[in-house]
Amino acid sequence: MAIAAPSISSAGASTQPGGGAALAAEQLSIFYSDKEAVKKVDLSFAPSSVTALIGPSGCGKSTFLRSLNRMNDTIASASMKGSIWLDGEDINAPGTDVVTLRQRIGMVWQKPNPFYKSIYENIAFGPRYHGIKNKKELNEIVESCLRRTALWEETKDRLHQSALALSGGQQQRLCIARALSVQPEILLMDEPASALDPVSTAKIEELISELKQEFCIVIVTHNMHQAARVSDKTAFFYMGNLIEHNDTNIIFTNPENKQTDDYISGRFG
């Protein structure tokens, strides 16, 4: 597995993988045309931690999440001010290699979206794109990613069957395995379990707490109890503002802000 953590800029220095990188937004504002969807947010994410972004629909949390690996680039009306730092490099600086950026900062979406390919190819695709051709090496990556997402035992005898034949929960774990295949340091998850049944949800949550050892994870969730269960830190967004960011334990037992209290208590939003 030869994909180490390269610099995202053409001139920058490499960083060491392991534990995930440090990621931070500084005075980040994001606009859709004139509408300010995210307002001057300062928020940093530590390696080997899970941060949950919570808030009512339209509060800016998903927009914020997508900006962290420049997924908003594809939205014509979107623009931003401020900075996002990945190990001290500005991810929006001219000359940034977006492909490398997204290799280092992976994304898992709300609905499982496996490629219309075999289970094996779903995982081998990324590493192959990044230059790994050796069959044995690819086999190792596929097995390791499937093992880490607890899919290996369920799929080892049908690796070359279509990924679409898997259940929803298995497909989502495959998508996480696919994200892992290129050795990211940070995983962004946009409501990764909202389309899943309780058993699959529990497996995804268990997986998140295991992956936390190696990665920095940022998760958007509408499920307050999921945020309470899986995250170390919670950030509450409301109308584009970051209202409160603190240890999850504090947010769910004794938040400082009245709006946070009302939201997590299910009294608004």
């Binding site: 769910f252 037992t253 938040p255 209290d261 009302d262 208590s265 009294r267 608004f268």
Partner: protein, 219 residues
């Protein structure tokens, strides 16, 4: 502000039951002291008979609180309110038991004349009845100042208790025939003093409910 009907109604219900328990305990202590001063075994028996009602209320609070946790997933202050209701109802139930213990002393004194006029024990009891009332008020009003007042009142109760013990001890030394009754009256002092400690615990619970932090008022 969105209302959470089921949760809010449940929390109201917990409040009402705690107030009911508080009223019951306050009256049980007042009655048991009255029974003591008049050495009225009949009144004492009545107090003992009514105690199961307190136990029943405590069980109902445990049941409703558990149901709200399981079905409503309360967090932050809503959750603290339920945790505190468990704790306060436990304190009140013990306070009820201690009032019953006083009533049992009265039963043992039946037919006797008191060895001395009771002055400090009723004073202690009056302070503690006010503490019971105010501890429940501090809960209902979420009044932390009133909750902290418990610690001050408790000190006063402790001082009175020490005085009572000293007095009864010298009585016993002076006249061994008073030993039996002096012992029983000192037990009463001890029971009232324990009730004050539980009222102080309620003050601590209220401070925790409001601030999320638990002070030690019994220190």
């Amino acid at each position: 502000m969105i209302k959470r009907k089921e949760l809010d109604e449940g929390l109201d219900q917990l409040n009402k039951m705690l107030q009911e328990m508080g009223d019951h305990v306050e009256s049980a202590l007042a009655k048991s002291m009255h029974a003591l001063m008049t050495v009225d075994a009949k009144e004492a028996a009545e107090i003992i008979k009514q105690d199961p009602e307190l136990n029943r209320l405590e069980e109902k609070i445990t049941e409703l609180g558990s149901k709200l946790i399981a079905t409503q997933q309360p967090v932050a202050k809503d959750l603290r309110r339920i945790l505190v209701a468990f704790r306060i109802s436990g304190d009140l139930e013990r306070m009820g038991d201690l009032s019953v213990d006083i009533a049992k002393v009265v039963m043992r004194l039946e037919g006797q004349t008191l060895i001395k006029p009771l002055i400090d024990l009723p004073r202690m009891s009056e302070i503690v009845q006010t503490m019971i009332f105010e501890s429940i008020q501090s809960y209902v009003q979420e009044n932390v100042d009133l909750a902290y007042k418990m610690a001050k009142d408790d000190d006063e109760v402790d001082a009175l208790y020490s005085g009572i013990i000293r007095e009864l001890f010298s009585l016993m030394v002076g006249d061994p025939k008073t030993i039996n009754q002096s012992m029983l009256l000192s037990f009463v002092g001890r029971y009232i003093e324990r009730i004050a400690d539980h009222a102080t615990n309620i003050g601590e619970s209220v401070a925790y409910l409001v601030t999320g932090k638990r002070p030690d008022l019994n220190a």
